[in-house]
Symmetry: C3
């Protein structure tokens, strides 16, 4: 939809994310973050994890700040998660669901961004179906504005990656000895990419990517991962199994997998199939689930599932990131 001239692929997104003092200013991707930064963010997020049945954890660290949720792609869950994260830190939250049909050129995105910036929006949370949009925006805002990527094409979804890392760490404490298997449409998954980048940085024991051949990642994209096209083999000994949401329209393009039932038969994560996994295996899913397609419904609700914890951690991670980027904002 957008030409590459407008949103060029960038090599310096990492440096773009930090200010000259090395402090977090934008969150665009987990790629390039060091272990120290990831660990700090997870530690901070841990402070914001509310306990079930207790009052939600709150602070006033964003009081007087304005967070705009600028969703060019519809989302209920991620938008709600950022909305609550902002409100629980005392920020004013502006929700803008913007139809992209009227968005013709990169310039008009910038005009909207400049408008929000002139309204003194401090943090812009961006979800967009086009690759490169969050970095393009980050490169063009004033230095006192922070951009948070809330889902970018099939490229990146860093807060999802962080919540996945946090969920795994809560259960296992460390990453070195773990085998993590991600199952499904790897090729089109920003969730898989952000999780893989974070896991690699934190030194995961083994990362496996399981998918039908036509939905595998490009072979040189994640050289540190092992690719499987057989679910049973890929699950063997896994400590963490992350099932990805599959778009129904993708299934139609798969050789020999005509529908959701057939997909489930080959790539659905089920309790029965997990018998070859490690005894302490946990099952994850970014939501929303297609129960009975990529994951067995009963499994999603079983004690093995940490899907609810992922959602809870999502609010905590977003609070931590908001709190972090607000530290470098002017205090008056």
């Amino acid at each position: 939809m957008h030409s590459p001239e407008i949103f060029p692929a960038l090599d310096d997104e990492t440096s773009l994310q930090l200010n000259t003092d090395g402090e977090l200013r934008h969150l665009l991707t987990l790629k390039g973050f060091g272990r120290g930064m990831l660990t700090e963010l997870l530690d901070e997020a841990e402070q914001f994890v509310s306990r079930p049945g207790r009052k939600a954890i709150r602070s006033r660290s964003l009081a007087g700040r304005t967070v705009a949720n600028l969703f060019f792609e519809p989302s209920t869950r991620t938008r709600a998660s950022f909305d609550l994260a902002g409100k629980r830190l005392g920020a004013d939250v502006l929700n803008l669901d913007v139809n992209t049909s009227s968005r013709k050129k990169g310039e008009s995105i910038l005009d909207m961004i400049y408008t929000l910036q002139a309204m003194h929006v401090d943090v812009m949370v961006i979800r967009d179906a086009s690759a490169g949009v969050p970095a393009f925006i980050a490169r063009n805002v004033d230095q006192h504005v922070s951009i948070l990527n809330a889902g970018e094409a099939d490229v990146s979804h860093p807060t999802q990656g962080l919540l996945d890392l946090l969920t795994i760490r809560q259960r296992f404490g460390k990453f070195e000895d773990l085998t993590v298997a991600i199952v499904g449409d790897i090729a089109h998954s920003r969730v898989a990419r952000s999780a893989a980048q974070g896991l690699q940085t934190l030194g995961v024991g083994e990362l496996r990517l399981i998918s039908p051949p036509s939905l595998a990642a490009n072979s040189n994209e994640m050289p540190y991962a092992k690719n499987y096209d057989n679910l049973a083999l890929g699950l063997r000994g896994a400590n963490v199994v992350m099932a990805l949401r599959i778009q129904r329209e993708r299934i139609a393009d798969l050789d020999g997998i005509p529908d959701g039932d057939e997909y489930y038969r080959h790539f659905g994560v089920t309790a029965d199939r997990l018998r070859v996994a490690a005894p302490d295996v946990i099952v994850m899913h970014p939501g929303p689930m297609n129960r009975g397609i990529e994951i067995e419904s009963a499994l999603a609700d079983s004690p093995v599932s940490v899907i609810t914890q992922q959602v809870r951690n999502g609010v905590a991670v977003r609070m931590a990131v908001l709190e972090r980027v607000s530290r470098i904002m002017a205090s008056n």
Copy 2:
């Protein structure tokens, strides 16, 4: 749309509404509430009725709590009323207007509910076009979450019932000697059902249901009420006349009533027709009105009308219910 297996008719909604200490946890229906509970809720609501021209009454009793308005059926007024009620008690309010077209199975509703629960939403306000959804949700949430029914198919609209009761009580003080006439599409009206249930519990003198024969309630549903198909007879001596909103598409199905004009001629509540009512008669309508169809426009704006008070009381009733369910939540 939903199969009965998913949202079964329930006999124990009443017990579901109270915790083991008998305190209000969910508000699903007025059916089965005792006179004590209804009177307490009305007494509390009375404390939240703001006076015109004065500042709105506020408190901080829901500070730190999150209320999600989850409307699977569109609504401007009821949503705004719950939104303001939550904000005036200091809660964070999350508004989610959810298209049900993508909602195929009971499971996916629960996934959304579990997601909000994991985000530490304390109260979920549910409006749904399918019968049984609020109770189904209430049965499945964690014990620290409260469900409030904001309109359920043609079954129940308990906060509307409470505001109707409050409005009547403010004018007449008691219910024993009153004749209350509800006029219109009784068969499909959750407003009529909730009002009738509350009035019956509070010992209303006489309850009349006036409608075209094909829009009457099932004869054994409300045995305590008298059915009329003649407006003039039904209004005779009435102290309270509640006109219901009629869907234009219902009129088309009525024998001998081809359009709105003809409906008005037979069942429109007018000042002229009210001459047979009690001298102190008041006129109510749940809104939004079809003026000139179910109610005479001038009558709706006359001193006999308490429609504005109903709206005002609506915010107060919702504040009272929110305040009440929050009492049993953990204080830390």
Copy 3:
């Protein structure tokens, strides 16, 4: 769409805007305001202009008040601006985007207004595609409710007018010696009308309206202005050039201007064409811009452009107006 009986043209909008003590109660139009009132509003707005890179200016003067944004015509920017203005003054803000397709009669607008009034909404911000709606509503609300016009057909957009005046005053200090040229679809522009009315009151040196002949204002509407159908002549010596957004469908109706490119060739404001303007010329645009149609893209981003300041001033002006109308509200 609305018959003249329902929303009659009014001569007394000015008096309607002030209470019996001469204090601002509604903001419907700038027409008829004296220089004193305009200057006071601009002075107050100046106090609310946040400085880039600093925290947004805030107060608690609307704490406990409720502002409803009732937008019958879609808008992202103006709605966001009023939303933030309300929140930064501590108000509860209710956002209602209302589809007008279901709005058949003036009565049903009033029913919605009466509903919000009964919910203790203190300020209603109204945007509507029909002329007369804000005044019609102002005439019908209770005396403790304020109506702010956020865009009314092609008639009036008073907060936009105020932000334009403020932006000009910030740059030039006064209006007497200035030549202001407004360029584009004058005939259909509420922005042009409100700016012209304010400029005239504040004693602008010369006001020029530049447009294709078929998009000129009626010749006796603004007798104090000079009409031009030639851009080069109209820009000569101008200190302020305001380019208006043009609807693409308007262009199709223009003789000899078949498309946007041709429009740009005749009426696009460019750096090159501004060489005949005053050396201190500034360029304004109400947004959103059609870059390359009514304004040269590079010019909009150049130091000559004050478009960003306009947006910043927009929040300040709306805060000032909200603060002002809240002064006459009951304090308890």
